[in-house]
């Protein structure tokens, strides 16, 4: 199974967290790293998108969005009935798993680049697009019957929140400037990308350590949910990618997008839109279980799944 050394930094962070080291990445540095990652990914996607006839993307994009919307819709009743969770918590967790994780996606891209496997660069667009329906569906489910949500505030939070804004902004700049115009920025936004991802994973490990320590309190249901949901979502993504004729790399990225759960944009949005949901549950599952599962086991498995399916011809 393929292995990407950058995940070792996550382990170092987890170790530091578990032994209660005084190591911490200052908040402002974390902010800067995340601004960097979001912009860099957006730029990379924009440059790739510019080389592509946009109209051809329309139908696949709609399909990818429609299938992606199934994830929160299916997760909600499972959480509600099997998990006996409150309506608010079920909606919030469903939204987290319908959304996507930029860092998980980045680790997947790093693995593809290390293994020299090609992929459709425009997959990055779905980092932006998948977030929106997932959050809306989650909020609707969470609040159904309990009075109107502050939709205005939520729309603002999602569309103009920094995650989407930087991803989409980078995408547009990369698209407008093109590979040639972006060249002087390459060394910062492309060459340094993986090193900065390493530092980011270090901090993720530090924070995840706290969540991992609290694992027991989540109960068997939530832990199972946090492992089975990404696997099922990835199967959905692999099948769809294969049907749409994506390359092996693109198929694996789509599976990773579906499988990943948000722990940055979704928590902030849910805290405002669904105040009654307990953030410890959703972040604990997404960051403490699903994220490490994906970067250590999930991503190699999704790559294998894509290769396996494609071995039958595309």
């Amino acid at each position: 199974m393929q292995f990407e050394p950058v995940v070792l930094f996550f382990l170092l962070g987890v170790f530091a967290g578990l032994v209660r080291s005084d190591l911490k990445i200052p908040g402002s540095i974390y902010e800067a790293l995340s601004i960097f990652l979001l912009l860099a990914i957006g730029l990379q996607g924009g440059v790739k998108l510019a080389e592509f006839p946009l109209v051809q993307l329309l139908v696949p994009a709609l399909l990818i969005l429609a299938v992606g919307a199934l994830i929160p819709l299916l997760a909600f009743p499972v959480l509600r009935l099997l998990g006996r969770m409150s309506r608010a918590d079920s909606g919030s967790i469903a939204a987290h798993y319908g959304s996507v994780s930029v860092v998980t996606f980045s680790v997947a891209v790093a693995l593809l680049m290390q293994e020299d496997i090609d992929f459709e660069g425009y997959m990055i667009v779905f980092l932006v697009l998948l977030e929106i329906p997932a959050l809306v569906i989650g909020v609707v489910l969470a609040r159904s019957g309990s009075g109107s949500a502050q939709w205005g505030r939520l729309a603002h939070e999602v569309l103009f929140g920094k995650s989407i804004l930087l991803l989409a902004g980078g995408l547009v700049i990369g698209f407008v400037a093109g590979a040639e115009g972006i060249k002087p920025l390459d060394i910062l936004f492309f060459d340094l990308f993986k090193g900065i991802l390493a530092l980011f994973l270090l901090e993720m490990g530090l924070v995840a350590a706290g969540r991992i320590a609290g694992l027991r309190s989540y109960g068997v249901f939530l832990v199972s949910f946090a492992i089975i949901t990404p696997l099922l979502s990835a199967i959905l993504g692999t099948l769809l990618g294969w049907m749409l004729g994506l390359s092996v790399g693109g198929t694996m990225l789509l599976a990773t997008l579906y499988a990943s759960a948000s722990y940055i944009a979704a928590p902030a949005a849910m805290r405002i839109a669904v105040p009654k949901a307990n953030p410890a549950l959703s972040i604990g599952a997404a960051l403490g279980i699903t994220f490490p599962f994906n970067i250590f086991l999930g991503i190699p498995v999704y790559l294998w799944m894509a290769q396996f399916l494609h071995s039958f011809g595309a």
């Binding site: 911490k24 908040g27 974390y30 902010e31 995340s34 530090l206 924070v207 706290g210 722990y263 940055i264 928590p267 902030a268 805290r271 405002i272 105040p275 009654k276 953030p279 410890a280 972040i283 960051l287």
Partner: protein, 96 residues
Amino acid sequence: MTSQPMTLLIIISETVLEDILIDEIMDLGAKGYTITDARGRGTHGTRAGRWTQGGNIRIEIVGNAALCERIVQRLQSAYEQDYGLLMYTAPVELQN
């Protein structure tokens, strides 16, 4: 030194509410406020100011007793149930 008796209201709550609380406070008639970033622990657990956990803000308002009471009542009814929130008041002398 002409000083004026006033009420000091301290509100400690979640960073994510900053813009919302400011809107409430100004709507209720405050002339000003001061905010510092904070971290802490309370009945809602530890809020260490790390990104995924969120941190706290400490809002300081000098105003008349009636204003402070209006703010306390509004925040209690709207936010106390679902968010980390601590409020206390003390008499102070405004120096101006």
